[in-house]
Symmetry: none
Subunit: 212 residues, 4 copies
């Protein structure tokens, strides 16, 4: 009944204000996502945190979930991009060090993503929409598993790795990283401390635990 003037975008010269506000909402949602679980975020909080009114959200998104999915996708995309940077290629450097790099990168990605993923699992609607979107864009699990599988296959072809079942090995590496990620998130152990265990894992993976 008593609309006031816009607050948030004033003074942001240079940007298209409409785009800016949409961005701002996604930014804010993404930031809140880093602070708490998806299920604990209210539309009002997003609006307050973004410094805009309660209703704006619906000028840019169909509903709460739409905004949240956008934020989740951006967050996930960002993490994936970071992950992919600096992944070693087959035949370069040393295999052991490369595998350690891979495992560390996976650990980091998972530790950074886990809270969001688990939060997502409590919100079936959100999970479903997110999955639909993530499979539409070329950013699904293959961006995590694909590079690792390619690397392993490459080194095997080059003879720098022996003969091994691909899926099992991928599962072991990612699983170990996931385990470290859980320890970090649930157990509250510091990442540095956990990362120190990675070389041992790779060594064990390389050498096996069978006797002599």
């Amino acid at each position: 009944m008593s609309p006031r003037r816009a607050r948030a975008t004033r003074g942001r010269a240079g940007d298209d204000p409409a785009v800016a506000l949409r961005q701002q909402l996604v930014d804010t949602a993404e930031r809140l996502l880093a602070e708490r679980q998806v299920g604990a975020i209210t539309t009002r909080e997003i609006a307050r945190a973004a410094g805009v009114s309660d209703g704006v959200l619906y000028n840019y998104f169909a509903d709460k979930y739409d905004l949240l999915v956008a934020a989740l996708l951006r967050r996930y995309a960002g993490e994936l991009a970071t992950f992919e940077r600096d992944l070693p290629a087959p035949g370069t450097g040393e295999v052991r060090a490369n595998l350690v790099s891979y495992a560390e990168a996976v650990h980091k990605l998972i530790a950074d993503t886990l809270p969001v993923v688990t939060g997502l699992m409590s919100e079936p609607t959100l999970l479903h929409r997110f999955m639909v979107e993530i499979h539409r864009e070329p950013m699904g699990h293959h961006r995590l598993i694909g590079p690792l599988a390619d690397y392993l296959t490459g080194e095997r072809r080059l003879g720098r790795l022996g003969d091994f079942p691909l899926d099992a090995t991928v599962t072991m590496i990612i699983g170990s990283a996931m385990m470290l990620g859980f320890a970090e998130v649930v157990g509250g152990v510091a990442r540095g401390e956990l990362a120190r265990g990675v070389p041992d894992i790779i060594d064990t993976l390389l050498a096996g635990i069978a006797p002599g």
Copy 2:
């Protein structure tokens, strides 16, 4: 509506009705936990399902979370007990088959527990209280990790396994099982199909992937 004995416990002769009612609430909450996410359970539903009134809850528990934590603990304890049953002892049977058993048991435990754990992560308050409780009682992670570590150490001492870093190996086995659990819960893959991958994982763990 004069005060009267709770309906649900009437006729349960011999039990202390107060204890019985408490139990019943936990039972019911635990059952509901198996059906849906923690966040989707209301106090009224618990009361209705338990056949008692909305208010009793507060005679035995400080609040909703208190009851839920009790139910979560009992559920977790039950899963752990199932897990511990039939774990092979060092020196018995074949090492490979034993490790497969261990991995399968861990996979089962994790797949059964994961939905609850993730549901928990959406409820920070609940998660915190749960962690406090789980570390107080002798039922923390060591009940999962302990037996596996003991088994591995035992076989190593017996010479049925080589020399290997314990923590790393434990992380790899549990991590792989966790990975399978996630695939089951998030990806909707059937357990049977996933379980088929376990022998490959154990073989890889035993033999390693290094060339030659």
Copy 3:
């Protein structure tokens, strides 16, 4: 987060408080229905007017419409009962006076009901639910049309009325009453003034307007 004690039913000794509150809500809704259109009634207003909290409504009714339908049915049932009281039987008194009584009763019923009926027509959901309910109970249109048709048929059989098409005559009598009802509701004309026109209508109906 801060429930207080009940206010509205305190001191109403003798009634079953649960039934009392349900009744009270229907009472209140019915009263508001007399003051304004269905579409302009909010759940909060009902609660405020009933002196209870916002949420109670949902302890007794599935949703807003459920309560409103209950109120509409009660109101309509009451009006119908009043209408049926004192309707003359065929063969008693004078035909002309009897028809005037019928027309006046129909006029009253329609004038009292019209605002609600029209309000209903703007709320498709509500209209549908109301129609379902009204056809379930023996209170549909036949309670309005039936008695009049029976009366006309009776008098015709007794020879106190000539030969005439039943449906057309019913339509004319009820239609005329409806017209008066509209004039009252929409035009704001006083009922007494309108009622004065009824005898003329009946005389015209009896005598016809053909020449000679």
Copy 4:
């Protein structure tokens, strides 16, 4: 977003653009009125449908209601114009056929208008403003009642109708048509089927129902 001419009126050379835009808004609102209830029309929908911006409305109308009243008036005026076309004059054709034509025309007018009128009754503010306007302009009920009254008076003067009370007869004809209109709108009966009852009504009106 510098001020510029409204999109929708560009290219309409020759018209005063301001008038054109006002017209267009009324046109659009009128069209929407034919599709749904008054209460279900939003200002944004009108703007979108008219191809103009949300705000223009307030350059030509005090508020939403003002526009809606204008649209309602135009719609009603249109229906009335249609109604008045082809009404038989006293002394032409046959009286019975003429009265049937009148009754059918009234029935059509009412059936076409009723949804809007009832929708109006759910919006007290709108209803009030509409009534004020309709009485100001020479388009009130007399445009409906007037021609019929004139026709009846004319035929009576010509001796083609007997002596009868004018108001009562008008009420009966319009009331019957209104009754048919209601049956069509509320009961969902097809217009054709209802129209078949009109001759019976006219015959009854002419002959009366008194015996002998």
